[in-house]
Amino acid sequence: MLSSEILDAVSTSFSVFFQGKNFIRLLMGLWVTISIAAVSVVLSIFFGTIFGMIMTIKNRVVRILSKIYLEFMRIMPQLVLLFLAYYGLTRSLGISLSGETASILVFTLWGTAEMGDLVRGALQSVPRHQYESGMAIGLTNRQIFCHIVLPQTLRLLVPMSMNLVTRMIKTTSLVVFVGVIEVVKIGQQIIEGNRLKVPTCSIAVYAVIFFMYFFVCWVFSLLANILEKRQKE
């Protein structure tokens, strides 16, 4: 193909976004993706903090159980977990989840494991003498946690959990496999709808989806970078 033909194909392909409500529809699809990600992020930060505290308990059984959970969630690809929740649960237990619920469930379970590990690492990075100094000046356990441990762990934790948030948003793209109508699915619908009028429109649609994901995640990456720099100062 000549380069002028390529340019022509690309520029005509972008015209699909000026027809009807195509661009608005794509944005609505992005909103579905983002809301699934947001719900799972909030839930996994909540449960992850609890899980992280549980992992610091010095009990053999608790330690082994949480280790098994963590390793399982880490080893299984998120797509396999999605399939297990969406197809496996329905088939073997008769629990029929919608695509959205299944994906929120899976991302929360996975996010809890990852977040829990971050929380555990941050909690254990507080040196022992900090606790002991707190005790020496007569603070209660709760005061030690609130005034000594929490501020130090939060400062470590926030940039790291920002990275986890970007990873979770990126992973949300997988929900198209379990039949959720989100940004990729709507993009495919637009491509199919314009198959005859604008046959090359797939390049524009996929490029726009690519950059939509990029900008959403980039915001969080920048935030993580800024926080990390501030923490080092």
């Binding site: 197809y87 990029f214 990456s221």
Partner: protein
């Protein structure tokens, strides 16, 4: 559970696992090379290439592999670039993995102290010699745990390959569910195969991390 069925379809899974590992291996090797080159470019602050490299890293770190594959497989044929599914997967995996490897290498390069480099200069080594004999050996050993984590991440990411019609594990499982309605068996085998592929890598990673901590801080 239908065990005769499981016995029948195991060869399908092993074949798919080999294909996945094959693509993953090529992708990981290529992304190692890309990552090392990018890390060196950023380390030496080469003017123009540095900007291009950081743009590439931001793009690849902030987009999902699935969307990258969609773009490569469905969009590029419109401008005359036709790639097969396997080629798309290798390119996509390299594009994604390159930036992750770069990040690991660069942070490892930063851990090598300035004193080391200055000592090298004092005894009259050239820049290439300092890189070859002083910085790289130390940086590589520091980067091994990160490298293992990346390998695991990339193998996990291969699960989306079925979208571009590559017959990987996911594809076989979906096929069996669709053809025979053997959901339980297909999913069990799917989960098991990923376990068999990834458990050794995970164990190797934690072993490497322990060894490294031992080498750095002694007995902890």
């Amino acid at each position: 559970m239908d065990f005769t069925f499981i016995k029948q379809v195991i060869p399908l899974y092993t074949e798919a696992a080999w294909l996945t590992m094959h693509i993953a291996l090529i992708g990981i090797l290529l992304s190692l090379i890309v990552g090392l080159i990018c890390a060196l470019i950023l380390y030496y602050r080469i003017p123009v290439l540095r900007t291009i490299t950081s743009c590439y890293i931001e793009l690849s770190r902030n987009t999902p592999l699935l969307i990258q594959l969609f773009f490569l497989y469905f969009a590029l044929p419109n401008v005359g670039i036709k790639l097969s599914g396997v080629q798309c997967c290798i390119i996509g995996l390299t594009f994604l993995g390159g930036s992750y490897m770069e990040e690991t290498f660069r942070s490892a390069l930063d851990t090598v102290g300035k004193v080391q480099i200055e000592s090298g200069q004092c005894i009259g080594l050239t820049r290439a010699q300092i890189m070859r004999y002083i910085v790289l050996p130390q940086a590589v050993s520091v980067s091994i745990p990160g490298f293992c984590a990346n390998v695991m991440f990339l193998i996990k990411e291969t699960s989306v390959f079925s979208i571009v019609a590559v017959a990987d594990l996911m594809y076989v499982a979906k096929d069996l569910i669709g053809l025979y309605y053997k959901t339980d068996e297909a999913l069990l085998l799917l989960a098991l195969s990923y376990f068999i592929l990834l458990l050794p890598v995970s164990m190797l990673a934690s072993y490497a991390e322990r060894r490294l901590r031992y080498a750095q801080f002694g007995n902890t």
